[in-house]
Amino acid sequence: MNQPMPTQAEIKPMLPVLPVGVAGYGAYVPRFRLPAAEVARVWTGNTGNSLAVTEKAVAGLDEDVVTMSIEAARNAIARAEIDPVDIRAVWVGSESHPYAVKPTATIVAEAIGAVPHTQAADWQFACKAGTEAIQAGIGLVGSGMARYVVAIGMDTAQGRPGDALEYTAGAGGAAILLGPAAESLAVIEGSHSVVTDTPDFWRRQHERYPEHGQRFTGEPAYFRHVTTAASELMQGLGTTAGDYAHVVFHQPNAKFPQRAGQLLGFKPEQLEAGLLAPFIGNTYAGSALLGLTAVFDKAAAGERVLLVSFGSGAGSDAIAFRVTARMQAQRDLAPSTATYIARRTQIDYALYARYRGKLALQ
């Protein structure tokens, strides 16, 4: 491990003035799956890969971050059983917004019926754009400025053909509807954010595919930020790994979250419910949030859940939840994350190339 980050002497978990919780949550995963073995067949002639990802989710021709965010948000609203006009901010975190200029969030807000008296904006912080929006949403609800905020992390991730990222760069995400703790399915117990300027992964303006720092993406980027954010939050809340029934990390592959869990003292079974990368790949800004929805689908009242995102560039948001008794009654009001994952149509590399616009038609 690299040098740990310095800690501030009296650092405290971030907590809003008014208690905030998750009023509803919703997942979306498109139905197409590209096996990693198929990518390997095309580019290496082999069928294996070292990333422990079996296949990745791929968006169809008529899907993008707008359409997927709309469905996830509708699922979150269905579980919360609220009137969407009470939503005062619609925030979409992604690195694959369909427009370079024009918010994804205004289209989503219009479709879910939150307009016109609402905020709407797109967030950008690689894979943690969604949890960044959650952090801001906690602030907006927790200050009393808004009753509800919907924070979305959603991506149709890009990977250069043949690049290591192509095995994992998937599509999907989730919407988290924040509201007053008293009516929530899970209460937010505290959060902690960590950021440094770490150039592990980027995509320049007008470029189609991102660049990454190969092995540099591991220790100084992912592990350093994730473990610091998680351990600072747990320490600040007076908890240890054993206090959490479930932990969800950002999942660029299956190995990184497993290793992060190990470093922080979590057992494999604490990661199990939220570890989706083997089945859908790395859904970037959607990754940690989708894992959280899969945990919410199963978690029992009173259980603690720790969410730890990671975004290249780089930073991590750690957020601690405690599931309430309302969860069980509300979660069946929308399809489970497992339902979306089970809805599976396998495609080959040729169809993948067509669906993802990798063929030059002119």
Partner: protein, 155 residues
């Protein structure tokens, strides 16, 4: 470029907002100036639930301009629970499973792109049920009414 037209149709395309005739109760989608049943001109706005079944369908191989990249795709007449018959694409379906009477639900998808530089147009399509029909959402409307679908274009 049809920016203003696409913008005007948003509530219809994004949220399936239609009308209910205040004179005879007929549910009308998409919105129009006169009730096709009673020629009434007084309406209440109504958001349709987006649930229905395939009334008929065809597979489009020779797609009209703007839809070439999606071909082949399924185009269907969908009988909504509230009564109207709408024309829309089916999505997330396979040739082997699509059939008349198939229960479907509305989803918002990308309808087309106005070229490389123009706007992206979003609207309703229908897919096999996934976001489950809830028992307490039973349709409270009277018997289905026939509404001509001539204006219910998906484009």
């Amino acid at each position: 470029m049809e920016v203003s037209r696409n913008w005007r149709l948003q509530s219809q395309r994004y949220r399936m907002e239609g009308l209910r005739c205040e004179q005879c109760g007929t549910v009308i989608f998409p919105a129009r100036a006169h009730c096709p049943q009673c020629a009434g001109e007084s309406f209440a706005s109504l958001a349709l639930r987006g649930l229905g079944e395939v009334y008929s369908f065809t597979q489009v191989h020779d797609a009209p301009a703007g839809f070439e990249h999606d071909a082949p795709f399924f185009l269907a007449l969908v009988r909504l629970d509230e009564g109207p018959l709408v024309t829309a694409q089916l999505t997330d379906v396979e040739r082997e499973t699509v059939h008349i009477g198939m229960p479907v639900e509305m989803v918002t998808r990308k309808l087309r792109e106005d070229g490389e530089r123009g706007m992206l147009v979003y609207g309703y399509k229908f897919r096999p049920l996934l976001r489950q029909r809830r028992p307490d959402e039973a349709v409270a409307l009277p018997a289905r009414v026939r509404v001509p679908a001539t204006e219910a274009v998906a484009a």
